[in-house]
Symmetry: C2
Amino acid sequence: MNLQDSCIIRHFSHFCRLSEDDKQLLRRLEESPEQVKAGSVLWQEEDSASEFCTLSRGWAYSYRNLGDGSRQILEIYLPGDIIGLREFAFSQRLAGVAMIDDGVICHFPHRRLLDIFNQSNTLTAILFAISSRQQALLTERLINLARRTAHQKLAHFIYEMYLRLLQTGALSDGDFRLPLSQEQLADTLGLSAVHVSRTFSAFREQGLVLRDRHHVKLPDPEALARVAEFDDCYLNDSVRPIFFDGTEAAMRMTNSHSADEGPVAK
Amino acid sequence: MNLQDSCIIRHFSHFCRLSEDDKQLLRRLEESPEQVKAGSVLWQEEDSASEFCTLSRGWAYSYRNLGDGSRQILEIYLPGDIIGLREFAFSQRLAGVAMIDDGVICHFPHRRLLDIFNQSNTLTAILFAISSRQQALLTERLINLARRTAHQKLAHFIYEMYLRLLQTGALSDGDFRLPLSQEQLADTLGLSAVHVSRTFSAFREQGLVLRDRHHVKLPDPEALARVAEFDDCYLNDSVRPIFFDGTEAAMRMTNSHSADEGPVAK
DNA sequence: AAGCTTGATTAACCTGGGTTATCGGTAGAA
DNA sequence: TTCTACCGATAACCCAGGTTAATCAAGCTT
């Protein structure tokens, strides 16, 4: 993987070393880049769904508008993420998607995914892994929403973003840009904007999180993780490179009739 | 599809007509059936994850235990569902799974899924569709937990189960078995058991839901849907048979080495 | 420089649902 | 038949977080 690689390729490489052919297939997903402005809506709930997007630059989020006028933000997309996988089995969008930042997106049709199924088992497996990881994120967010206090919710969210940004190598110390307004945070966490503000005030007093506009500083990330009761097994180390990397497992994938020694337990 | 077909095959057939080869591949997932008793735990969080299960009979649920001793139930599995897809990208279980009912499960190793990727694009696409549908269920549950009142939560859950059971053809009128205790419902909905009881009492007075032990009667399912602000687009009709059935897309899938109209650099 | 608009802060007040506790009904178990 | 366990119902009390509203700061227009 070299520096000119698109962030999609970087993202996929995170799971497994890719062949040149695989990279070529992935590059085809980014054939038609398009500039989009902050706040612009990529699609809305119930629009017809016939394509996916890769997000090349900027942040985006998916959301649902509720009957009572409120809104729930479902997930935050970072560069390298694929948007719209959720609707693979559906003909309508189940959620709207909008840009947080200015950014760049690339559309590609559903069909292209079937091409990938046809042509690369490695990419198929990675796609499946990505989908399963996304489900893990969603699950964690669900628990966050269902069971934790406002303090924990906010702490958890900030720490999760911190880790995701660390993973993509986009930051060094506990000091980063978080381009979400308090209202967007509230919509993400199932809180009111007012209470998000209260919670930030409390965090500032405790020296846990210092937020100024879109800039966040974490003097002690570990302390924050403790407040959130953060358990990173759904994010980090347990992504199983074992399964894909150079080894017998990867070979098993491309060469399905190998000896069947058992699954790779730790 | 005939009556002896396993419920996995019935489940997959819901998306697309299957070839005999595909059915054979699926049958291999159910080679080693095992009886399990109500309440038995299939696995726990952080167990090492090297296999999936199909659920042939009975109901099951996945859950997470939280730091404070409470517990969140993540999803309810019905016969025909595949359990453990969530962990495809992980080497550890992210959630425990336990049986609600007595039932029958069949283990199969991760590897078997890779075999499917190799051997059938149709099944690969269906698996992807199933994973995306599961994500849709999860998303809906997330919104339920984040944004709705206790009445709506319970109404929504009951109505969702009602629809899922309708789909599997397991019931006719608004009259079915719901083998969950109020405590399990509470853990599913992020409520206390006490409040679930209160809510059932309210529903009984309003004639919305009549529950006796594990038996539920819905005198007017539509009324319940209205209370829940239920929007079934994530469940029903929008599953896209279009995508798989008979058309060029399906053909491209099953006939993978066709003329390489591939690189559709349009 | 005088407006607007959007976001953030803080305070006062209120409520949905958590918590604890008690009690009754039903089902196996012995 | 009685014991024990579990499940469900109801009541009393309480608090985390929602709601409303007022105020302020920071960009923008013009």
